[in-house]
Amino acid sequence: MTITKNQRKKQASSGNRLSPYQRYYLIFIGIAVVVPFVPVIIRAFSFSWFWPSILPTKWWWEARENAWQPLGWDYIFSGPSHVGEAIINTVFIAIVVTIVCTAISLPAARVIAWEKFRGKSAVEFFLLTPLIVADIAIGLGILITFLQLGLTGGYVGIILAHLIPTTPYMVRVLTSVFQGLSRDYEEQARLLGATPLKTLWFITMPMILPGIMAGGLFAFLISTNIFLLTFFVGQGNIVTLPTMLFAKVIGGSSLDTIGAEVALILSLPGLILLIITERFLKEEIFAKGFGG
């Protein structure tokens, strides 16, 4: 903060510039991150794409006019494809998961951040453990119990299962949000005669709202990306975008037009979130959640 103009200039000219290696590295990373999407996007707009052509042999819009059945995107948005159903299922499950997850994580985060109690570090540690246990262990373990309780093949079971990977994350993010706030505001409001409920609503909520938004958006994203738990608990009864894409890529040898289109649709929530968070929220909130 106290650096003089001269020093700053000097800094900018020496240590603050990219070395040639770093420049090439950044270009490489930029390409490696974005360019792999191009073939998938092209595939999503192709009708046929034979070896060894670099571009599709026939584009979707060329084949579309004299097709006797809906092709490509027309098929995606038609009933028989079940993509519409998968989108609705995915979004519905994610919304419910986000709401429930936020509701149960808020109180826990609040006391972890603000109260002193015995066994606090143990609580913090244990609440994080689901993040490091393999999905397949949780999925196979939960399956038996859910089968016996009749929770397989329905929304309730899937939503409950999605809470396992989202809650640890949400508690962590919200804890760091509360830690970043002073309790003084609440105490002052109480001193000035506000009821606890009023304090919560008018003082605390507005202050933590951006943090809740950030945590909620990421919980939503995590839920839309979950495959294995949905696959196990849903028993093929409830189709979501990830289970649909899994069925499309399971062979591991090729991707068809519909598979590419489902992949693009499934990428949308993350893409939208990336733009929103970068614009309106501080990325530190995300990183802080992991002790950054």
């Binding site: 900018a12 240590g15 990219l18 770093q22 420049r23 990373i29 991150v33 974005v34 792999p36 999407f37 073939p39 998938v40 070896w51 060894p52 670099i54 149960i104 109180p107 826990a108 006391v111 109260e115 109690f117 244990f126 609440l127 453990t129 490091i132 246990v133 393999a134 999905d135 397949i136 262990a137 949780i138 999925g139 196979l140 373990g141 939960i142 038996i144 119990t145 809470l163 396992i164 809650t167 294995l228 990830p242 894409l245 899994f246 499309k248 890529v249 399971i250 591991g252 040898s253 090729s254 991707l255 992949a263 990428s267 990336l274 970068e278 530190e284 995300f286 990183a287 992991f290 950054g292």
Partner: protein
């Protein structure tokens, strides 16, 4: 307390007592909802898996609890040893390589350059995208008829798809590790970068002023400072890779493959009694990653203590 309560009225006394009970219950009550997810769903699932791995599964008509038979059978299976080696290999290589690449990326991003704001948008893209989309991307790129093979053809290197090396669905696991790296470099970078931004450059500049060269500054000043971020990131990344199912299932070899894939294949068997063997495998996966994490955390604690930090 008693002396003051004596002078208080009965209702006030009751009120006080109620308040102290409320106060004592406040923390547990607030923790309860989130803990239920942890205790009932997560621990419940693990305990059920554990009991089944020890032979308790009346639902399949099996109950020889407690027995280590399923663990013994698992250990005697030669396929298990191959699987465990592959699981480690696919998990460890991307974790180490990805961490190194991420540190370099985070350090580079700290510099000033044109398009920095845009770059900081873009590099996070894979982080937001599901693993399955990463799998689709890798399939489109690296299969023998994929876009890279076609580019090789256009350049005149190969004639037919079979001339292109088989990169996916082999034991080498190129596709698996590529997806992990592609997804996880942004994640580790984000964490390391935000630690770096929180630190500022004062210490590094001081080291520079005192005559340390770039490498010395990095090893003795920067690296110890970003260590907590590196540990946090690898703590998430390694167990994830170790327990991941869909990526090796789709992009790995039919046989041998990783432990989670192996577990699923055993579980999916028409013979329900084999499901107990699957439980032994998933418990082993959880146990190994748990033990590894504890060792890792202990080593890290020790490192911090040696450095004189708590």
């Amino acid at each position: 307390m008693t002396s003051t309560t004596d002078t208080l009225g009965l209702t006030q006394k009751r009120k006080l007592r109620q308040r102290s009970i409320l106060k004592r219950l406040y923390v547990p009550m607030m923790l309860l909802p989130a803990s239920l997810v942890f205790l009932v769903l997560f621990m419940g699932a693990l305990i059920m898996a554990f009991l089944q791995s020890l032979g308790y599964a009346p639902i399949y008509g099996v109950n020889d609890f407690p027995t280590f038979r399923y663990y013994r059978e698992m250990l005697e299976d030669p396929a298990f040893r191959v699987s465990i080696g592959l699981t480690f290999y696919y998990a460890l290589v991307p974790t180490i390589l990805g961490t190194i690449l991420s540190i370099y990326l985070a350090l580079s991003m700290r510099k000033r350059f044109r398009g920095r704001t845009l770059f900081q948008y873009i590099y996070k893209l894979p982080l937001m995208i599901p693993y399955l989309v990463g799998v689709a991307v890798v399939i489109e790129l690296f299969t023998q008829g994929g876009i890279i093979a076609r580019l090789f053809h256009a350049a005149g290197f190969i004639e037919v798809p079979q001339d292109f090396p088989r990169l996916l669905k082999t034991e080498a696991g190129w596709g698996i590790m590529t997806v992990y790296l592609w997804k996880q470099i942004p994640f580790t970078t984000l964490i390391v970068y935000s630690v770096l931004m929180g630190l500022g450059k004062e210490y590094e500049e001081a080291a520079g002023t005192l005559g340390a060269n770039k490498r010395q500054t990095f090893i003795h000043v920067t690296l110890p400072q970003i260590m907590p971020g590196i540990v946090a990131a690898t703590l998430i990344v390694f167990p994830f890779n170790f327990g991941s199912f869909e990526v090796p299932y789709i992009l790995g070899a039919d046989f041998p493959n990783t432990l989670p894939v192996q577990a699923w294949r055993v579980f999916d068997d028409a013979d329900y009694t084999r499901r107990l063997g699957a439980m032994a495998i998933v418990m082993t996966i959880s146990f190994i990653s748990g033990v590894l994490l504890l060792i890792y955390l202990m080593l890290y604690r020790r490192y911090e203590r040696i450095r004189g930090r708590q």
